[in-house]
């Protein structure tokens, strides 16, 4: 293994998570292909965003990587080791190295447990039996997250905290086992604009200090550039574009990404006279996804006989940039369409 490879923390190779649909509980009806052939890598200490609309499979992808769902095909490599979903011992060790920050902090914190209990729980489950050691770790994490004075907070219950404080407790709980990878599912979408940035800055600081990789799941492209360098765009169970954030915002490659960017409102009073160019239709059903490119029924650049028949492979469209779209099948053509 070269030094280059050593930077890679997570690698997903052709990951496919399918959920079986049964009729009357036993007759096979088909599969919901929530994650259907996903490839990507995350470096150690990197922050990366996963963007997509609801129902595109981004949560299923997160849960597959966190070991909650088992993929039907494909493999997941974590820190150089292939994850064997059947091996309970290994899964437990693996899951200790991953954390999850939920979208709704209030729903994620059990209302009947004090903050101390909430913070201790993951350590008890993972066999840290020494009480004082547990308390030390809790105090360290809470200091880092500016939940001070710590002793006051430890006695409180979730309902006594504000939304921003609750979200910091959720984050502290995810960090208390020193994970190498954190999945953050829209960590600030439930918070008000004025406290949102505070939390994002805190996450950024912790990430730099602890060298933990963070995958942000979000549907809001306008905030992505404030917290990650790279971005993955997901549509209909597949990744359609992978790119550094800045390049993607300047020059989106895939027609779906372009539509997403077009849909974002900037705070500008002249918007009142303009209409958004929104693609018609709805995202595809993952039970019977369209043949070929999954975006083709809504795409205005559709090439008949190609996009509706063959699944587009990934084409290189720049440094570190890939997109799964037939428009980029040869580079000369790419010049014309990349507006």
């Amino acid at each position: 293994m070269t030094a280059e490879d050593n930077r890679i923390l997570v690698e997903a190779r052709d990951l496919r998570t399918h959920f079986e649909i049964k009729k009357w509980g036993f007759l096979h009806q088909g599969y919901v292909k929530a994650v259907d052939g996903v490839n990507f890598t995350v470096d150690k200490g990197e922050s990366i965003s996963l963007v997509g609309e609801s129902g595109c499979g981004k949560s299923s992808l997160a849960k597959t990587i966190l070991g909650i769902h088992e993929p039907r095909e494909g493999e997941l490599i974590f820190d150089g080791q292939k994850i064997d979903y059947g091996n309970k011992e290994q899964m437990k060790r693996y899951q200790k190295m991953t954390g999850f920050v939920q979208q709704d902090p209030y729903g994620a914190l059990p209302p009947f447990m004090s903050i101390r209990k909430i913070m201790e729980e993951p350590m008890i489950v993972n066999g840290i039996s020494d009480r004082s050691q547990r308390l030390d770790r809790i105090k360290d994490v809470m200091h880092e997250l500016k939940l001070t004075p710590v002793d006051d907070y430890l006695r409180k219950f979730p309902h006594m905290l504000s939304g921003g404080e609750q979200q910091r407790v959720v984050l502290a709980r995810a960090l208390v086992l020193n994970p190498k990878l954190i999945f953050a599912d829209e960590p600030v979408s439930m918070l008000d604009a004025s406290v949102r940035v505070e939390i994002l800055e805190l996450i950024e600081k912790i990430q730099a200090e602890r060298d933990v990789a963070i995958i942000y799941i979000t549907h809001d492209l306008s905030t992505v550039r404030y917290f990650s360098r790279r971005i993955l765009v997901m549509y209909g169970g597949k990744l359609v574009e992978k790119s550094p954030v800045k390049d993607l915002l300047r020059e989106p490659a895939h027609p779906y990404t372009r539509a997403l960017l077009e849909a974002i409102s900037e705070p500008d009073a002249s918007n009142i006279d303009t209409y958004k160019d929104v693609p018609p239709g709805e995202p595809p059903s993952l039970l019977n996804p369209p043949a070929g490119c999954r975006f083709h029924p809504r795409c205005k650049h559709k090439i008949d006989g190609l996009c509706d028949e063959d699944v587009p492979p990934e084409f290189d469209v720049g440094e570190e940039r890939k997109t799964a779209c037939w428009l980029y099948k040869d580079e000369e053509d790419a010049e014309d369409v990349a507006v």
Binding site: E53, A193, R196, V197, S265, E266, A269, S270, K276
Partner: protein, 326 residues
């Protein structure tokens, strides 16, 4: 009815709630006026009283109201003087409708959408019979972009965006003068959200209607706002036209709020934030309610500032703009 250029004007509106821990001053002396055919946005953080303001205008009150007063002129008539029955018959849903928060989940699951949308017409005797009402439903569905073959469908058969359109159709069907939209797009995906905003922009152009959009999403609200009211801790702290608000707002809170809005085009990667928390509406501070988070605080701020109007049509509740100063 006299011709009046203001569709709605609210003066010194108060709505306090009685709770076991004391009195919550959710709406505390709010005044604004909205021109006919213009739309306004009420922006503010959660808990600032913006939803209560919408409820106060339409008199949708819970049981624990402690104080409900003020003047509310709809087309020049003070609707606060109406008794409940007159208000129900002549105002609510007839002249003024509302799309409440999460309206798409409030649809009745066992009634087809056409029957639900027709209901306000039948309840208010605005249609002769059901036939006529259903005819009106069809044209309203066209306006909001719901295909006509969805008429006999049930809510569970529709996507989130379509349900939101149905909820909008329900508020439009009586041809009201204004509609209060409470967070109409916050639960929707980006593309769907853009779609709904397109529908609202088109309705504004095509029919004689005003929208009052209640939201915390500053960017999206710019799609339909002519005027902007910025609410903080039960007060409107600034009321101005959209160009001023999205360009150069005056009140320190509005300025800090705009700095914390992410944009695609901004040059640097830093966003502002406002340290601290909004005050509790149970025991709001004596003076200016924003003073403790404000970096321009000075001695006058320990008293509550009145609404200053340094410019025609631009009102701001901040001592920095007292007469003869700026």
């Amino acid at each position: 009815m006299p011709e009046n250029d203001k569709v709605l004007s609210v003066e010194d509106m108060h709505l306090y709630y009685q709770t076991s821990r004391g009195i919550v001053q959710a709406v505390d002396g709010v005044s604004f006026a909205l021109d006919r055919k213009k739309s306004m946005v009420v922006v503010g953080e959660s808990g600032c009283g913006k939803t209560s303001l919408g409820n106060a205008i339409l008199r949708l009150l819970p049981e624990n109201v402690h104080r409900y007063e003020g003047r509310c002129l709809l087309n020049g008539n003070d609707i606060m003087q109406y008794d409940n029955e007159k208000f129900r018959k002549n105002v609510r849903w007839v002249r003024a409708a509302m799309v409440p928060q999460a309206a798409m989940n409030a649809l009745n699951p066992v009634i087809s959408v056409a029957d639900q949308v027709a209901e306000p017409l039948l309840v208010h005797d605005l249609a002769e019979d059901k036939e006529e009402a259903l005819e009106k439903v069809k044209t309203t569905f066209d306006k909001v972009g719901v295909p006509r073959d969805f008429l006999q469908r049930y809510p569970f058969e529709l996507s989130g965006g379509m349900k939101q359109r149905v909820a909008l159709a329900m508020s439009l069907i009586t041809d009201p003068d204004f509609i209060i939209l409470d967070e109409p797009t916050s639960a929707l995906d980006m593309l769907t959200q853009a779609n709904i905003m397109n529908v609202l922009t088109r309705l504004k152009d095509e029919i004689d209607i005003s929208f009052i959009l209640i939201t915390h999403d500053v960017s999206t609200s710019s799609e339909i706002a002519d005027m902007a009211a910025i609410m903080y801790a039960g007060h409107i702290v600034e009321f101005t036209d959209a160009y001023t608000f999205f360009g150069e707002p005056w009140h320190p809170y509005s300025r800090r709020l705009m700095e914390s809005v992410p944009t695609l085009e901004a040059e640097d990667d830093t966003l502002g934030f406002i340290p601290g928390q909004p005050p509790s509406l149970l025991h709001p501070p004596q003076g200016c309610r924003f003073a403790e988070r404000c970096d321009e605080e000075f001695e006058l701020c320990s008293e509550e500032p009145p609404m200053f109007e340094p410019e025609e049509g631009h009102r701001v509740k901040c001592w920095l703009y007292r007469e003869g100063d700026k």
